[in-house]
């Protein structure tokens, strides 16, 4: 699977975890920081909660990878990919 499609699949997976399990006034529409901000605001969530922090971190890693997705695979890139996997696992426990 190419990196672009893979990142999209990760976004879909994360959004589905959150939107399936959390009863909210409004669903989470995306993993951009602005979409997360909107969701936090609309649902009166704590900006410092573990869930919100995890979402922000996944978002940050995905967007970092987006602009560097086709650069030669580096150990840092692999580390970030691993970070995402771990954060998504943690997210599944938190929601």
């Amino acid at each position: 699977m190419d990196e672009f499609v893979s990142r999209m699949a990760t976004q879909r997976h994360v959004l589905n975890i959150v939107n399936k399990k959390i009863v909210s006034n409004e669903k989470l529409f995306g993993l951009s920081s602005k979409a997360i901000d909107r969701w936090v605001h609309k649902n009166h969530l704590g900006y410092e909660s573990e869930l919100v922090q995890l979402l922000r971190n996944v978002s940050s890693e995905l967007f970092f990878m987006a602009t560097r997705s086709q650069e030669p695979v580096s150990s840092e890139y692999e580390l970030r990919r691993q970070n995402i996997i771990e954060m998504v696992s943690r997210l599944e426990l938190v929601v």
Binding site: M8, N16, F29, G30, S32, K34, A35, R68
Partner: protein, 209 residues
């Protein structure tokens, strides 16, 4: 560092929904740059995109304007014309696949409908750009690209197109009213037509070799 504006603001295609696309070219990391505000690329990476004739390179070559240059040079202009765009077939196939995965998710009752509609909009917009790069004398970029293909333009109703675009803006910029289930329901039949349209673009590109 070099900073460019690109996209709708350079086309003069401005509306209240427009945002300003900014590209920053950097060496290594630059902590001053907010990735929410800039597309951040290394000089090497941009050079690679030029060499491979990537669609984004063509977008920048045709629709970007220098805003700031640390060294007084226009880096992008100095790169000249990108290599010929040769990826139309694989890119169009990729966007068809992306459309299909989003459409399947919707049919299966996804809890993330806005994201899926946003993904469909991305697939439609991008396949139109890829098609235009090989089939039209003037390639078309941006949110209306699928409606700027002459007789190959998408035949979605204005309402349906607007619903998809609203989903894209909600998903990326977090702006706008949520989309009602009535609007989504109305859209579903049109998405089938939309998939046929994508296929017709792909077939034309594919037949072209």
């Amino acid at each position: 560092m070099h900073v460019y504006a690109f996209g709708s603001i350079c086309r003069g295609d401005i509306s209240v929904e427009s945002d300003i696309d900014l590209l920053a070219l950097v060496k290594g990391r630059d902590a001053r740059l907010d990735p929410d505000k800039f597309s951040i690329y290394s000089y090497d990476r941009i050079g690679e995109l030029w060499k491979s004739g990537n669609a984004f390179a063509w977008h920048l070559a045709l629709e970007s304007k220098l805003i700031f240059s640390e060294d007084g040079n226009d880096f992008i202009s100095n790169l000249g014309v990108p290599s010929k765009y040769e990826h139309a077939r694989s890119d169009c196939k990729r966007f068809q696949d992306i459309f299909d995965s989003a459409f399947s998710s919707i049919r299966e009752g996804t809890p993330s409908i806005i994201f899926e509609l946003s993904t469909i909009f991305l697939a439609i917009r991008n396949i139109a750009t890829c098609y235009s790069l090989v089939k039209l004398p003037d390639p078309t970029f941006g949110r209306d690209s699928a409606r700027r293909l002459g007789d190959k333009s998408i035949s979605l109703s204005d309402n349906a197109y607007s619903t998809l675009m609203r989903a894209r803006i909600l998903s990326t910029r977090g702006i706008g009213d949520d989309i009602s289930s009535i609007d989504i329901h109305k859209l579903m039949d049109e998405l089938v037509v939309c998939r046929h349209w994508m296929n017709s673009l792909y077939e034309e590109v594919d037949n072209n070799g």
